[in-house]
């Protein structure tokens, strides 16, 4: 038994990001991550009915998703492979990695992904300046497999000139030309020409080996990344756009925050027992642990102080995300162990 995991690494997007490269990550390239998170999160919940999803920023250049539902933990190698393949679209073809086939319908999962991408694609075009020079244009052009159409687009783009800020206009032109051809030709290969480009550029680039295997190790939440010193923090998929990877604290920042807090509240010379005065107000868990006399006795004042130090820092939010996850986790797994009464929802004796 182990969690079903997904791993997306920013370096796999190096051919479509011009803001940073390698292990760097900024708000602009985070957009790719946030789209990836949205697409996968929706598919895992809607298609597979998973609920216990923990999303974390690895502290450096990637995101992970841990799926902890009983059905996910039960998956064998075959099942994990099937899910990984269902959720990835890139093939081994080095030039054109996405081919959606000539069938009549686009699989609902891909259609949904395309809508999510389309929604933010003009922002990507602008932020990454995807079509701002010849070289970048060629890259995108190469994704149009029909030669005739490709030349036509190229001609139109040349006519438009090479001034800055035309990325969206150029893209719109490309779409218009393809749509035009789609309308008058019956070539089935053209059917998904635009979708293929969108998916190839932006669809989540999963490291499927991590998902397929059962012995890949992923960094656990809240550990500190050895290279960056950043903490590996969970985030809320519904607020993924607002998450800013450059604001993730490093261990040094955290220490400084604690000191600052103590200074501000003039706590430096007081004993642990009296700190912090506002404990209950800050307790995000709502669990009455600290009020339990037994626990109070068992715990040394120093340990207790340390256990609560995080509350003086910006990690408070991340911990809240984690605790929300844990709560859901207990809910589901209690039902799992307790004869299933919770799972079916309806306890016949209660009304």
């Amino acid at each position: 038994m182990r969690e079903l995991v997904f791993d997306i690494d920013m370096t796999d997007y190096d051919d479509v990001r011009y803001c940073c490269s390698g292990a760097d990550i900024c708000e602009k390239c985070w957009r790719y991550m946030s789209i990836a998170c949205k697409i996968l999160d929706t598919a895992l919940r809607e298609d597979f009915d998973f609920q216990l999803l923990l999303w974390v920023f690895s502290g450096r250049r990637g995101i992970h998703c841990w799926v902890c539902d009983p059905a996910a933990l039960d998956l064998d190698g075959r099942g994990r492979s099937a899910l990984a393949e269902y959720l990835s679209v890139l093939t081994a073809n080095p030039v054109k990695k996405v081919y959606l086939g000539a069938s009549d319908t686009l699989h609902p999962h891909l259609k949904r992904a395309r809508i999510i991408i389309e929604d933010q694609f003009s922002k990507i075009l602008e932020e990454q300046e995807l079509l701002s020079n010849k070289e970048r244009q060629t890259k995108v052009l190469n994704l149009v497999s029909n030669g005739e159409i490709r030349t036509e687009i190229e001609k139109e783009w040349n006519r438009m000139g090479q001034e800055d800020g035309q990325d969206v206009a150029k893209w719109d032109k490309l779409v218009a030309i393809i749509r035009h051809h789609q309308a008058k030709s019956s070539d089935r290969k053209l059917r998904y020409a635009v979708d293929e480009i969108l998916l190839e550029l932006v669809y989540p680039r999963l490291d499927i080996h991590v998902t397929k295997g059962v012995n890949h190790l992923l960094k656990s939440p809240f550990c500190v990344h050895p290279k960056t010193g950043k903490v590996c923090v969970p985030f809320q998929p519904r607020a993924v756009e607002k998450f800013n990877p450059s604001k993730v604290p490093t261990i040094n920042q955290l220490i400084a925050e604690v000191e600052l807090y103590d200074e501000k509240h003039n706590l430096l010379n007081k004993t642990a027992d009296e700190t912090p005065a506002s404990e209950t107000a800050m307790d995000t868990t709502g669990t009455p642990q600290s009020e339990t006399p037994a626990l109070k006795q068992a715990e040394t004042p120093v340990a207790k102080q340390l256990r609560n130090e995080y509350k003086k820092t910006c990690l408070v939010k991340s911990i809240a995300v984690f605790e929300e996850f844990l709560k859901a986790f207990h809910g589901v797994w209690k039902g799992e162990g307790g004869g299933g009464a919770n799972i079916n929802g309806a306890d016949p004796m209660s009304f």
């Binding site: 809607e46 298609d47 009915d49 059905a71 998956l75 099937a82 393949e85 269902y86 609902p108 999962h109």
Partner: protein
Amino acid sequence: MNFVARKRRILVDTGFTEYEMGLYSNDLQMYTTPPEIKITLREFEEQALERVKVYRIIEQTSAKGITKLSEEWRKAILDEIKAQGLKTFVKVFTGTGLGKTEADYEGRRRDHITHFICRLTYSRTEELRRWFMTQEMDLFRLRWHYLSSEGRQAFLKSNNLSYTSISEEEMSRLLTLSNGLVDSTKEYYKVPFTEVFDLISRRRIFLHKGFGYITSQDIISVIATQFRSFMSKQMMLCSNLYSRIIEDERLKAILGNLNTVYTGKNYTVGSGNAHEIDIKQLGTIARRAFPPCMLSLYSTLTNQNHLKHFGRLQLILFLKGIGVKMEDALYLYRSEFTKKMEPDKFDKEHSYNIRHSYGKEGKRTNYTPYACMKVINLNGGGAGETHGCPFKTFEANQLNKFLADNISNPEPGEVREIIDLAKNKHYQICCTKYFQTKNPGVKLNSIIEHPNQYFELSYSDRNSTSKTEDKKSVASS
């Protein structure tokens, strides 16, 4: 009340017990419980053989290159089953599911019994198990096709396969959700996603909230997966059982042979297919009309003046079958062997065996010429051995040479095709192709299953063409 007695009570109007009526309520079954019947050894063998014939028909139809599970494939199989007079099977294999006539129950019982006999027979080795499973799986899929919607529902229900068919309301919701992937004209079932991994990985299925929605065509792949995994477990159990059962000599004799038994025409002498063979002409006849297995033995005999034990036997029985008289056979072997061996030694060591093969010595059994199955299973190919089926025993280059030597003007790719077929172990198909290139004028309605059948088909053809050739040469001289 005696429950057992009641359960076993025979219903007067059908001749079946209530228990059996339950067991045999559907044309298709998963064979979960072994039959409990008394059956004579003779019936046991006869019925099992019939099912073996069915397996072979399925195998050969697929090997002919007809797309598996296609309409054409189904038709070819059923036509052949009919042609071989296996009526009971046709009825149960094409049944819609819930028929209630006595004949329906009869067919299902036979299906049940024969399946179990074969399961036992084919449980012996890994190779046999795999072969058996392949044919059974194909048969299962073929039969599913004919089940009616009610028959399928009933099958699912009685096997605790809880695939719910979906309501109209749910259907209309799916139509919107699925972006056209769900087709309103088809019937759908709802299955947990964990049972359709192969469809998921190819994104060939619509998923929603942990369930896959599959058509009744696709559901067979789910059920087949379950049937396969159940069967492969059962086969392992069976192979243990087998070793205990064959302690009974009579059963051992039947079960041990079932997989190699030849199910076609009998070629023993006296069954009316012998020709007048002029022993002096045998070389010419061999090159023209012998199947590869016999031709290669004949060549070894005449070139190396010797044949090892199994080779001698394989060839002599064949010769007997095509009509070579015992005296002529003795003459042939003697004249060749004695080129390297003292005549005395030959008479002492070999003449007896030749006479024995002709049934003129010892128990005077009229031994039957070997069918392809038997020849193929002789294995051969050991040092100095030429018996067995060349398509199996020859190395690729050896086979290549043999084909080049014996097919005068091969079409491009023909030789390659045969070699590929041999690689894939379709020996009899190889032989059929070989036959066709050598005898383009003969129309075959089945594949080669017996060396003597091969001979008969090609000899009669050659006979007539060579006669016309003779006439021609007379005219031109």
